[in-house]
């Protein structure tokens, strides 16, 4: 105890405490806080008013607005003193969003080098593949016109020349070295996605599209390879930044979490198990 009394820091704190006590005794208004009314505020209030009503406020109206501002500020400060912001869901969400925003900004300031982008591109090359190229025939079996288009299509598979059995549709029935991109424009995504896993060199199906049922005969399917890094550097950079910013946020939260011990006190055993494993 004697040692502490000799510490300069202790003296410093003691002097501070004395000054504070004296100040409290002399000052009759307890806990005075500052509320500033300056031209910045006046201009801000005036322009908000003008936006709503298309004219400048009168002196009286301005006084009214300032009055309202002062009231709000006083109530806000008192609410803070009374800890009303604690455990308020809306306040928590807004503040958490502000922190996330700060974290995003920090992540953005970490610009990747060209080497980092190139190695990211290599690691995620599947994301940068070109649409495959098809040569194929398509047959259409309309569900509008047929009782059971799928059954008809299946039956047609065993026919000598299925080409004779399809319905009219004003879309191409033949593709020669056409990109899946173009086929998707015509027949839609569901159809093109289904092509991926189909056998080539014979009539297969039924295959579903938005228009109905099809049989397809894929004569040839060519993988189109990958986009060159130089051609899609911007996309790589966007992907990299998105991942980096997410990683950064996760890391930031993980680091901050180390300062907290999380007490788990829930009854549900399966939930408890999950949470115990996580934290």
């Amino acid at each position: 105890m004697k040692k502490i009394v000799k510490e300069p820091l202790f003296h410093f704190l003691l002097i501070g405490a004395i000054i504070f006590l004296v100040y409290m005794m002399v000052n009759t208004e307890q806990n005075t806080q500052e509320i500033v009314i300056d031209d910045n505020l006046v201009n801000e209030l005036a322009s908000k008013w003008e936006l709503k009503r298309n004219r400048r406020p009168t002196l009286e109206e301005m006084e009214g607005m300032i009055n309202q501002y002062v009231e709000q500020e006083v109530l806000y400060q008192e609410a803070l003193t009374m800890n009303l912001d604690h455990n308020d869901e809306i306040v928590k969400r807004r503040l958490a969003q502000k922190m996330e925003f700060i974290s995003d900004n920090m992540a953005e300031s970490l610009q990747p080098t060209l080497e980092m982008l190139e190695s990211y591109y290599e690691e995620h090359k599947d994301n940068y593949a070109k649409a495959p190229i098809y040569s194929m025939q398509v047959l259409y079996f309309s569900e509008d016109k047929r009782e059971n288009a799928s059954a008809d299509a299946l039956a047609a598979l065993n026919h000598e020349n299925p080409l004779e059995l399809g319905d009219n549709i004003s879309l191409p029935s033949n593709y020669k070295d056409e990109s899946a991109f173009k086929i998707t424009r015509d027949y839609g995504r569901v159809f093109t996605n289904a092509l991926d896993s189909l056998e080539t060199g014979k009539w297969v199906g039924p295959v579903q599209s938005g228009f109905g049922i099809h049989l397809v005969n894929i004569l040839e399917k060519k993988a189109a390879g990958y986009y060159e890094f130089d051609d899609i550097a911007e996309k790589v950079s966007t992907d990299y930044n998105f991942d980096a910013s997410n990683d950064f946020k996760q890391e930031l939260i993980a680091t901050l979490l180390k300062n907290y011990s999380i007490q788990i006190d829930v009854e549900d055993p399966s939930l408890k198990k999950e949470l115990d494993e996580k934290y």
């Binding site: 801000e44 009219n168 027949y187 839609g188 998105f242």
Partner: protein, 640 residues
């Protein structure tokens, strides 16, 4: 004979020349034979083995957005939009991007074309503020704005006061150099992403005239590349709020630099009746010269977008059960209309009829426009699809809270506030063109061979002629025959012989979308007393329903929508509809206008998808299902 807009008559000899290896003699012979060649197109007899030689009509339809804002628009950049023109083109061409609020976003299928149309008024100021652009900082107001943005007061300190002065037509920056810089960047972005044949990036901007807060906005569309457009700067509402002055500027551009340009107005629903007013801005009644100019420069109208659908109003078309779609009739700056009179000059259907009235009066139809749709999003993201809706402003990008946000606060009364939940997820422009290039798309737009959709990529063809028969609807060479013997959407049908005109219509669903409920022809005319008239005919309906003697099918297609799960299925409706129709009430002595409306079966709205995704329970009055649709450009009949 029918006046043919498509000049493939002339193209046949040229193509034959290519096929024959180009001997002079042969060409001459074939040219003199060209009439005969044409009549044989639809018969068995042919000169070429390949029946497709000489085909020179649009075989494909291209979908795009002609109205999208990015951070280069002051009212986007200063309220949080971080995506610029390059991001916008990348997203539209199918790439994944990160939105202003940090979400990853991608289209289900790429668009075929996009025009970034940022506001010309103080174009490009937001990114220059962020970059501390030296020219902008050298400007007194620019420096003041920069400081405010640095203090985090971009919205309150810069944007909101800017809106006030801009609505009064006051330019605070007044710098050609700054404008030139911004315009160059816009053009460069379009040049960089324009890939003829794959994805077309069109150069353009928005002329944002709003006298007294009334929306007279037009997007300005250039056919040309940077080498020509570079000669000029955008003509803005600071230069003039009068569309007639915009047309002078456009005319000057074409004459001086040999380019091509057109303008497309939008949001008549927020124009307080001015959009299709029969008065000029100077208060004079419109005349033949005005009408001629307007139709020369403004062949199209943007009939549907996020800020409301403008086809018709339920109070104008009282017997149309589909009229109340995306109705935004409260102007937040004016309140609701005092009477329905105002709507007549705000909505497309009545405007087309008023056009016919004006033709009788002044000799020229001033409102003979085709239809397109767009988004008018201010996010840099043309994300119009209901289950992938990216919002109007960054504040309406996907979030659990967005539907409750105030979108446009009313200065009059809170009850006139426009709320985010009222947003219509936005439309698309469909263009029947010969190829996906700036030139071909522009030419088709000028010929009005376009239609609007509320976001679906359904296909619709619409032709009129005097000789079509029922059998023509089921021909395998439907389009070829239809072009050869009639005119497509956007055209005039003339040279009648007193008989009723015949129409061929073919509609196909969006392959990744909903089935079709029905196809309708909507007719407008002016009766013998000079009164506007309209009538709806159902011409094809799904599921074996019956069209009654009055030409209507009053049986609803039903609904498969599960609102809670935000799903639907295609167990009702048709995948495609092809039909022949002849007007049963035709009067050869009266002008008439016909357009087609195609309706899909009911599907969930973006609100239903939001409620499902974010687990929300929304108020009952919010629209959770709707029927998406397409409106074609009309065909106009004129008596001899």
């Amino acid at each position: 004979m029918i006046k043919m807009k498509h000049t493939y008559l002339l193209a046949i000899p040229a193509l034959l020349l290519a096929a024959c290896g180009g001997s002079e003699e042969k060409v001459t012979n074939l040219t003199s034979n060209s009439e005969a060649t044409v009549t044989s197109i639809t018969s068995e007899k042919r000169d070429n083995y390949s029946p497709f030689v000489g085909d020179d009509y649009p075989q494909d339809v291209y979908f795009g957005d002609l109205h999208l804002h990015t951070s280069f628009s002051v009212d986007a950049g200063l309220v949080g939009c971080k995506l610029g023109p390059e991001d916008a083109y990348r997203f539209a061409s199918g790439e994944e991007v990160v939105t202003s609020t940090g979400l990853k976003a991608k289209l289900n299928r790429p668009l075929d074309f996009l025009m970034v149309s940022d506001h010309g008024t103080n174009l490009g100021i937001p990114p220059m503020l962020w970059e501390a652009d030296p020219d902008l900082l050298a400007n007194e107001i620019g420096k003041k704005w920069y400081d405010l943005v640095q203090e985090g007061k971009g919205k309150e300190g810069v944007y909101l006061p800017w809106l006030q002065t801009t609505m009064k037509g006051i330019d605070q920056i007044k710098s050609e150099k700054i404008m030139r810089n911004a315009w160059t960047r816009e053009m460069d972005a379009a040049e960089k992403y324009n890939q003829p044949g794959v994805f077309t990036a069109i150069i353009g901007y928005e002329w944002t005239s709003m006298p007294g807060g009334n929306n007279l906005h037009r997007v300005v569309v250039f056919k040309d590349g940077k080498e020509k457009v570079n000669n000029i700067l955008p003509f803005t509402a600071f230069d003039s709020q009068d569309p007639e002055d915009l047309w002078k500027y456009m005319s000057n551009y074409e004459q001086k630099y040999g380019g091509s340009v057109l303008a497309i107005p939008h949001n008549g629903n927020m124009s307080d009746g001015l959009m299709f007013s029969v008065e000029r801005m100077n208060g004079e009644p419109i005349d033949a010269e005005y009408a001629t100019n307007r139709m020369k420069w403004e062949p199209l109208y943007e009939v549907t977008q996020i800020k409301g659908d403008g086809e018709t109003h339920p109070k104008l078309s009282t017997t149309d059960e589909f009229a109340d779609y995306g109705t935004w009739d409260i102007n937040p700056f004016k309140g609701p209309a005092e009477n329905t009179k105002r709507y007549e000059t705000e909505y497309a259907r009545t405007a087309l009829q008023i056009g016919l009235q004006q033709k009788q009066k002044i000799g020229v139809n001033p409102f003979k426009f085709g239809m397109i749709g767009s988004t008018d999003a201010h996010t840099g993201l043309t994300g119009w699809q209901e289950n992938n809706y990216m919002g109007k402003f960054p504040s309406s990008e996907p979030s659990a809270e967005r539907y409750e946000e105030v979108l446009i606060p009313s200065p009059l009364d809170k009850k006139y506030d426009i709320m985010t939940w009222m947003e219509v997820a936005g439309g698309l422009t469909a263009v029947w063109a010969k190829e996906n290039t700036r030139e071909a798309l522009f030419d088709a737009m000028q010929q009005k061979e376009t239609y609007a959709t509320t976001g679906t990529r359904l296909r619709v063809r619409f032709f009129a002629g005097w000789e079509y028969t029922k059998q023509d609807a089921t021909r395998s060479d439907f389009a070829k025959n239809a072009y050869a013997n009639g005119v497509p959407m956007g055209s005039d049908l003339t040279d009648g012989n007193g008989k009723s005109p015949n129409f061929l219509i073919q509609a196909m669903k969006d392959p990744d979308g909903a089935n079709l409920d029905r196809v309708q022809v909507i007719k407008g005319w002016v009766d013998a007393n000079g009164e506007r008239q309209e009538r709806i005919y159902d011409v094809a309906v799904s599921d074996g329903r019956v069209i009654d003697k009055t030409g209507r099918c009053k049986t609803s297609v039903g609904s498969t929508v599960n609102v809670k799960e935000a799903t639907y299925d295609n167990s009702i409706g048709s995948t495609s509809m092809t039909t022949y129709w002849s007007d049963p009430d035709f009067d050869a002595a009266l002008d008439a206008v016909y357009y087609v409306r195609v309706l899909e079966i009911p599907t969930p709205t973006w609100l239903a998808y939001d409620a499902n995704f974010y687990k929300l329970s929304m108020p009952k009055e919010y629209p959770m299902t709707h029927q998406e649709r397409a409106y074609t450009s009309p065909i106009w009949y004129a008596p001899k």
